[in-house]
Symmetry: C2
Subunit: 208 residues, 2 copies
């Protein structure tokens, strides 16, 4: 399958590598809300985000969940990488955040390339490291910060993702991503509005 080379823009990936990605991968389009990777499912492909973004969540049986990090354009899901190789079931859920175009690479290719192409190996290592630091900051937030600070940081992350100060999200969604209750989020958001840091309307929060 031949895909459009122009679409693949990954930092520090050389042309030979890019050719491999094009020859072996398949491009698919997804809509916001689509689930790319289910918790406890087996992993057969490595998703590389070409456009849009995914969010990766950890989920508890009872439906409670918490946001781990976002996967942006030019990045991939490291959990899929070694998880796929060791034939693990996925321990996380990946959901499309913004409408996305995703390049799916068979997991065995992704593995082979590590020893063949230094730029690929480097790409994977750098991402592992980035995710590791992001997870660390989740741990940090949960251990040392109160929920109001965490809400502010989450809103800022969403702003950075899209560059838009108008964030389309419900209180329930924020509560889910923070692993808390909707009422808690509503109250704290109201407080932030009183402090003139944000303004609230239905399905939308605007950063001031």
């Amino acid at each position: 399958m031949i895909t459009d080379s122009a679409k693949i823009s990954i930092p520090n990936i050389d042309n030979e590598m890019k050719q491999q990605l094009m020859d072996n991968g398949t491009i698919k389009n997804f809509k916001a809300g689509d689930v790319i990777l289910q918790e406890n499912s087996y992993i057969k492909t490595l998703p590389i985000v070409l456009q849009g973004s995914l969010k990766v969540m950890r989920e508890e049986e009872d439906g409670k969940e918490i946001l781990l990090y976002y996967i942006k354009a030019g990045e991939t899901c490291v959990m899929s990488f070694l998880g796929g190789i060791s034939n693990d079931k996925s321990k996380v859920k990946a959901v499309v955040e913004e409408d996305s175009e995703i390049l799916l690479i068979p997991i065995h290719n992704a593995q082979d390339w590590v020893s063949k192409y230094p730029s690929w190996c480097d790409f994977i290592f750098k991402l592992y490291h980035k995710r590791f630091e992001e997870l660390l900051s989740v741990v940090n937030a949960m251990a040392f910060q109160k929920i109001d600070q965490r809400i502010v940081e989450l809103l800022n992350k969403k702003y950075q993702l899209t560059g838009n100060k108008e964030i389309s999200v419900t209180h329930q969604q924020l509560a889910d991503e923070l692993g808390t209750a909707r009422e808690v989020v509503s109250r704290l958001l109201k407080q932030l509005e009183r402090e003139k840091k944000i303004s609230l309307s239905r399905n939308k929060i605007t950063i001031l």
Copy 2:
């Protein structure tokens, strides 16, 4: 510097690789409590634990901290790996848990070997993955579990580390590792003792 080959037992590391480790590494001994890696310090060596164990903590400025995971014999600190390469300051603190013998590898060697020796690359990737999952379980614990459950799991981890049901630890240490207060731990331990799950004495907790 030539070190004793017999001491180096790392799963799936071949002899050529082992020779490299011996030729380029230095063995040092540390006592329980020694700090191997300070938060915010630069990283110049990759520590491989030959005997004993380390614990890796995340620390907040005000002295509050939380346990991330243990590094056991035959393992290394992945945070040091790419952190060292990108010349990052360490975001974690590593403390010797049990008296340890540690092989220190210059960080540039560790990096070079990734492309030269597939077994080394594999070793590093597998560890990244393992740590990733451990961090995930820390996130999980903090998000979804109450402190009493977390104490029980921490005691079990410590038991698995040494194989000894008598655990030498103070309530303060447990509180630090869980990121909570000593009184909270004392009360919950007392409760566990009433339930006949453990028995308490000064500096020691015995799992029943």
